[in-house]
């Protein structure tokens, strides 16, 4: 009896061990909800199906933002982190400073057929801290200008190519808003000006169009960067002051103002593309499109961030060579199949996935894809990035300036001093 039992146990062990040798499990954490979550689930299913004998991704979705990054940090510190996780490139500096992330070498990338040259330079630069690579970009998400084609056509703002025309430059954009107003659209622009994060994205785009350096050599808004910041802020606050955009709008309301046809323009992230696509498919939305933010200053530039893949530095739990190979294979496969991910509105970070015919036929993504070439990423600092002190400062200074509660000059000086005071 005992012999039999032992025999069964041994057999079981052999089977488990044999299975493990043939098939690697990759534990995966992400923070992707909504339209992103649905699409990532599909990608993971496809990956598992095409690697049925070799690799299996075991995915868990966690709460976005500070909770995710706190959990990543605490779990990696005790060796209980996942094998691979999604990460915002803008949040990379803090992750590196806390020792949460493992370095990825060029050789690692080469082993699965990836190279730094497969990505836009600014994008890949944001994946590095002090010259070392800590993440592999997966997408770029930026803010874009959504437009109501019907209202713009009525105001004569649609060009021969079917795209909006005459919006570049502060004066032209203002003139366009006036035309729409005269055409009966009382407040033609909808922005989420009730919160700092959305204002930061527009501000940083306009700031980047003047080649502003938000943080240089440990100094925030140093020298004439302050003036550039004030100019960028003034453009946005003038929209509110002159009655083109309502003040203090909440996030869902800012989308509703656009989708209900009350506003002709809406500036928001590409992640709302599925919202518009779905509404339009149901016949509940006018003809619409999305283009890059107009150029108000010297040259085009748009704020962008990236979802990327990072490997946690699990303390006391060295990753086996087989496991690492599997993780890199997952990352490479996701990148090479990321054209589908673009249906969530994002731009694939992997150049080839953005340059194929399938992507070029994808609307409205193809209309704003060129912003990838001039994208500006958040300053590389532990104080910057999503849900960071810089975002908080945007809520405390930039947001009230946009809504006319304080002057742009005073706001930018306050923001500079506040952030400078937080430098250790």
């Amino acid at each position: 009896m005992l012999k039999k039992l032992l025999g069964a146990a041994a057999l079981g062990l052999v089977m488990v061990a044999g299975g493990a040798m043939a098939k690697e499990t990759v534990v995966w954490w992400d923070f992707l909800g909504g339209g992103d979550g649905v699409r990532m689930k599909k990608l993971i299913e496809d990956f598992n199906a095409s690697h049925a004998d070799t690799i299996e991704i075991q995915a868990t979705t966690l709460e976005w933002g500070v909770p995710f990054y706190t959990k990543a940090q605490t779990s990696a510190a005790v060796g209980e982190g996942p094998d691979v996780m999604t990460y915002h490139l803008s949040r990379l500096p803090l992750g590196v400073s806390t020792g949460t992330l493992a370095e990825i070498t060029v050789d690692d990338l080469a082993s699965v057929g990836l190279a730094p040259g497969d990505y836009a330079a600014a994008n890949f630069g944001a994946a590095q801290v002090d010259g070392k690579i800590y993440a592999v970009p997966f997408d770029m998400h930026a803010v874009v200008l959504y437009y109501n084609k019907d209202l713009l056509a009525k105001a004569g703002l649609i060009g021969a190519d079917g795209l909006p025309t005459g919006l570049d430059g502060i004066d032209n954009f203002t003139a366009a808003l006036k035309k729409l107003q005269e055409g009966g659209t009382a407040q033609p622009l909808s922005i989420h000006d009730g919160a700092g994060d959305s204002m930061w994205r527009i501000f940083y785009s306009l700031f980047g169009q003047q080649d502003g350096a938000f943080l240089a050599d440990g100094k925030f808004l140093d020298g004439d960067n302050l003036d550039k910041a004030v100019k960028a802020t003034t453009v946005i606050s003038d929209w509110v002051k002159n009655g083109f955009a309502p003040a203090q709008v909440d996030y869902p309301a800012s989308i509703a103002l656009f989708t209900s046809g009350q506003a002709a323009f809406h500036i928001n992230g590409v992640w709302e593309v599925p919202t518009m696509t779905d509404l339009h498919a149901k016949g509940e939305l006018f003809e619409w499109g999305a283009i890059p933010i107009p150029t108000f200053f010297d040259h085009p530039a748009t704020w962008a961030d990236s979802h990327a893949f990072a490997i946690p530095n699990n303390v006391g739990k060295e990753m086996t060579a087989e496991k690492k190979k599997a993780v890199l294979e997952v990352i490479a496969w996701m990148n090479k199949n990321s054209t589908f991910w673009a249906t969530a509105g994002h731009l694939p970070a992997y150049n080839a996935a953005r340059e194929n015919d399938e992507f070029k036929a994808m609307q409205p993504n193809a209309a704003y894809a060129k912003l990838a070439d001039t994208a500006v990423f958040d300053p590389s600092s532990v104080l910057a990035g999503v849900a960071s002190p810089v975002y908080d400062a945007a809520g405390n200074f930039l947001m009230p300036a946009v809504n006319g509660e304080i002057e742009p000059q005073e706001a930018m000086e306050g923001m500079r001093d506040d952030l400078q005071g937080q430098v250790e």
Partner: protein, 292 residues
């Protein structure tokens, strides 16, 4: 003095040990670690250098700390006393009802209490939304314009306190109803026979007899509201958070967002001392009055 025999001692030990052990492990030990952490410059995870009282000195110079203390106390003021009084008033009303109407009305007042804070946030966020909120119609009729309530600094705390009272008052009502039902009907009958007015009955019978409940409700509310975080954070996020944050929010920001575990612990120690001090004081003060 009575002496305990051996078997009683053993029973007591057996019954008490698990609690004391768990209490020590999950409360006392982390508390001591937190106090020690507050004397170091630690990140959220891992060891840090001993810095003596540097964190405490930094704390008392920190403008945000004084804002957070003031906001926390202001919120306590706006929420604790009103929700206690309102709880009593509603309970008195509900207590007069009979049968199914009483159950229905009680359920109506208690229903918000079972909602999670995220739902409360969504409901009131939409009702007061400056563009589409249904409450903006009366607001526009009275004030002549729409008011973005959660983005108007002087209105922020009162509005969130009002919502908190709406959300949590049901629990106070329940406690008061239990207290009111404990008062024997005979006392009221005797008072009625003696020709006491309603006001006299309330002042001389109801109020003194529900006083222990009032002390309980006020103390529970006080401790709860000193730890205020969720509602303020949800309604305030993205806005002028430096002006509306509370002490727990400041702990969250420094420890979790900015990875400054030592400094976060320092704020937590001060908050802990504040809660212990204020609640002991309040409990003593209220109890003393009740015994008079």
């Amino acid at each position: 003095m009575r002496r305990y025999d051996r078997s009683e001692m053993v029973t007591a030990l057996v019954l008490l040990t698990p609690f004391v052990a768990i209490y020590g492990l999950l409360f006392v030990y982390p508390l001591l670690k937190m106090v020690m952490l507050s004397f170091t410059k630690s990140p959220l995870i891992g060891e840090g250098d001993w810095v003596g009282f540097a964190n405490y000195i930094k704390l008392f110079k920190d403008r945000l700390f004084s804002v957070a203390v003031w906001n926390t106390l202001y919120f306590v003021l706006l929420s604790v006393i009103p929700s206690t009084i309102l709880g009593l008033l509603i309970a008195l009303g509900v207590n007069r009802l009979k049968g199914w109407t009483q159950s229905a009305v009680l359920a109506a007042f208690f229903l918000p209490y079972i909602l999670p804070v995220s739902v409360v946030y969504r409901i009131w966020g939409w009702m007061l939304d400056a563009q589409f909120g249904i409450l903006q119609f009366p607001i526009e009729a009275i004030f002549g314009e729409r008011v973005p309530v959660f983005r108007t600094l002087p209105l922020f705390m009162p509005a969130v306190a009002f919502i908190t009272i709406w959300w949590l008052v049901g629990f106070n009502v329940l406690l008061y109803i239990a207290g009111l039902r404990n008062i024997s009907a005979e006392i009221y009958e005797a008072a009625e026979l003696d020709g006491a007015t309603r006001l006299q009955t309330f002042r001389r019978i109801t109020w003194p007899l529900v006083w222990p409940i009032t002390v309980l409700v006020a103390t529970i509310q006080l401790i709860l509201q000193l730890k205020i975080f969720d509602q303020l954070y949800l309604f305030g996020q993205g806005g002028r958070t430096d002006s509306v944050l509370s002490l727990v929010w400041l702990v969250y920001r420094d420890a979790f967002q900015k990875n400054q575990g030592g400094y976060g612990a320092t704020i937590a120690v001060v908050l802990f001392a504040l809660i212990v001090g204020v609640s002991v004081l309040q409990y003593q003060a209220l109890r003393a009055r009740g015994e008079k």
